[in-house]
Amino acid sequence: MSKDIAYHYEDKSRNKLVAAYLLTGGLVIGLMMVFGILMLLNQGGILNLSPATFYQFLTIHGTGMIGAAALAAAGLMWYFLGQYVQLSKKIFVWNLVLFIIAVVMVIVGIFSFEYASAWTFLYPLPALSANAWGTIGALLYLVGMLVLGTGFLLLYIDTGRAIIRKYGSLTKGLGWDILFGKKDVKDAPPKAVIASTMVTIVNTTAIIAGAIVLIMNIINVINPSFTFDPLLAKNLTYAFGHVFANAIIYMAVIVVYELLPKYANRPWGVSKLFLVAWTCSTIFTLVIYTHHMLMDPVMPRWMLIMGQVLSYANGLPVLVVTAYGALMVVYKSGIKWDMASRLAYLSMFGWVIGVVPAIIDATIVVNHVMHNTKWVPGHFHMYMGVGAVVMLFSFMYYLAKVDSDVQDTMLDKIGFFCYAIAMFSISIQFLVSGAISTPRRWATHFPEWMGPAQFGAIAGVFAVIGTLIFVIHFIRYMKNRGTAGSDMYEKKLA
């Protein structure tokens, strides 16, 4: 009996922390959407922001969205991975604390010291701003990013440690012993462990690359006589940025793996093909960042060709394994549709459909006339906004369902359609803008480019309304947390 009580206490305390991650992520994402709308209104000629204000919004929007989505996805991963391995709660708390410190530094750097290098901070822009911002703003931003990375690095070191302790090594966490015939596939690690192992590997690598380029930028800002190779810096920046942003969906998809089979009451086991797909995703995610550098012909030719070929190949694990598996689980299953399952299904749709413009843009001959047009945000608003972030919302509803008696309402349903249609529309307007050659990251547009931006701003309002509805539901859950015992868990999903 006392063991049960201890278990429930531990469970509740873990859920409280995970909820703090999700709430922080959800609120920041909602707020960043507002900056997105303001930027689109400016590009649409409706607002008249100063260039300094616009580019500060651009910087906070990108940094905030990636940071917040990564934080919430890390909370999601920690929740499910923690059901299979022993994770450190202290490190989980420290990551949140460091994240909040980083957010404060970044916000002060941007809005008090007018720092606006965009979240890609391409060297030597942080130091050479044409007097738009000074050393303090640049240092606050860059050190803030370093603090943020440190928190995440600690977290991934801990997930790696826990996986190695339970399964023996990271390769075993990916199921390589099964692929090499040393173990039967029925003894494979759970999907949450496989995905977490992949993310641990790629994000540890990405954060180290990011830390190197951040530290070099910091030294350059303090002492401009210290310089380094801009092409190396660009490689490191994208090796960090691409992988870190990409890993969000690989953390968040765990909720789809865990949730859909329960709702559809069908097994979704680990197969050898599944293991191969995740190993491929691990390798591809690490190396395909060069598709951001297709317009740098000074790069070794083979790296650019690999950038295209492996970007194509990177679509296969999701197209052939994960999404196909999800569709099979749902097809003629009589699945119980509620907010969590609806959002999980929508997120798979978002991921898959986002692959299409990504593959198109990774084609070198296309990239030659579409790189750094709004086609690129078109792809990642689909992939992130309709894919990864929707997985986070799905998890928020899932957690509310299994850990409280808070019910989905008609308003939540309205929020679902509101968000889904709005975010899809936003993505499409970006793609249309890209197809008509509108450059991205431009404070103002020529009149012929303004229409899609105006449409996107209107759609953005509905996306914010949808997000607000989701977050309010989650706050209601947090107020009523623990009102459903864990024994209710399976019963409520059936």
Binding site: M295, K332, P357, T363, E448
Partner: protein
């Protein structure tokens, strides 16, 4: 035009995905035994995977044959016009800005400060070629203008607060 092909291709594949997800969602209301479904659709996956891989391989082989990085093969006695381009916050310094239709031109692009993007736009505001303008490196754009007119050079990489004002002009005559 490459953009139109990219857009139509994307629309076709995205529409297919919408149809599949919508159809599965509609069919999800029925409840059937999973084993026959697994058997049927695992078999179908082999065909589906083969089709997807074939499309990607064909697309890769087709598009990798003509890379914009390669210097075109010029005819005998044809010398390309070499244009030195230096980007700097927030303008373009070009050694030549007037060209003839049919004249092969090579823009040798670098930067004196931060990274910029050298994008050539035609009079319809359509991007027809680009490369990154990097400090310490020189990237080359190979182009032969087909149409006379005034072309604009827009910055395609965020470079600071006047990024969107960094616009140059070149003229192409008959």
């Amino acid at each position: 035009m490459v953009q139109t092909v990219a857009w139509i291709t994307s629309l076709v594949f995205m529409s297919l995905i919408v149809i599949v997800f919508f159809a599965v969602a509609v069919k999800s209301k029925e409840r059937r035994d999973y084993e026959p479904i697994k058997k049927k659709w695992y078999k179908a996956r082999k065909f589906y995977a083969t089709t997807v891989i074939t499309i990607l391989v064909v697309a890769a082989l087709g598009t990798l044959r003509q890379l914009p990085y390669d210097q075109p093969v010029y005819g005998e006695a044809v010398e390309p016009t070499i244009v030195d381009v230096k980007a700097l916050q927030f303008g373009w310094d070009m050694s030549q800005t007037e060209f003839k239709v049919g004249e092969p031109v090579e823009f040798h692009v670098t930067s004196q400060d931060v990274t910029h993007g050298f994008g050539i736009y035609n009079e319809d505001k359509t991007l027809i070629a680009q490369t990154q303008a990097m400090p310490e490196y020189t990237n080359v754009v190979y182009i032969t203008f087909d149409e006379p007119g005034t072309y604009e050079i827009l910055c395609m990489e965020y470079c600071g607060l006047a990024h969107h004002l960094m616009i140059g002009e070149i003229t192409v005559t008959e």
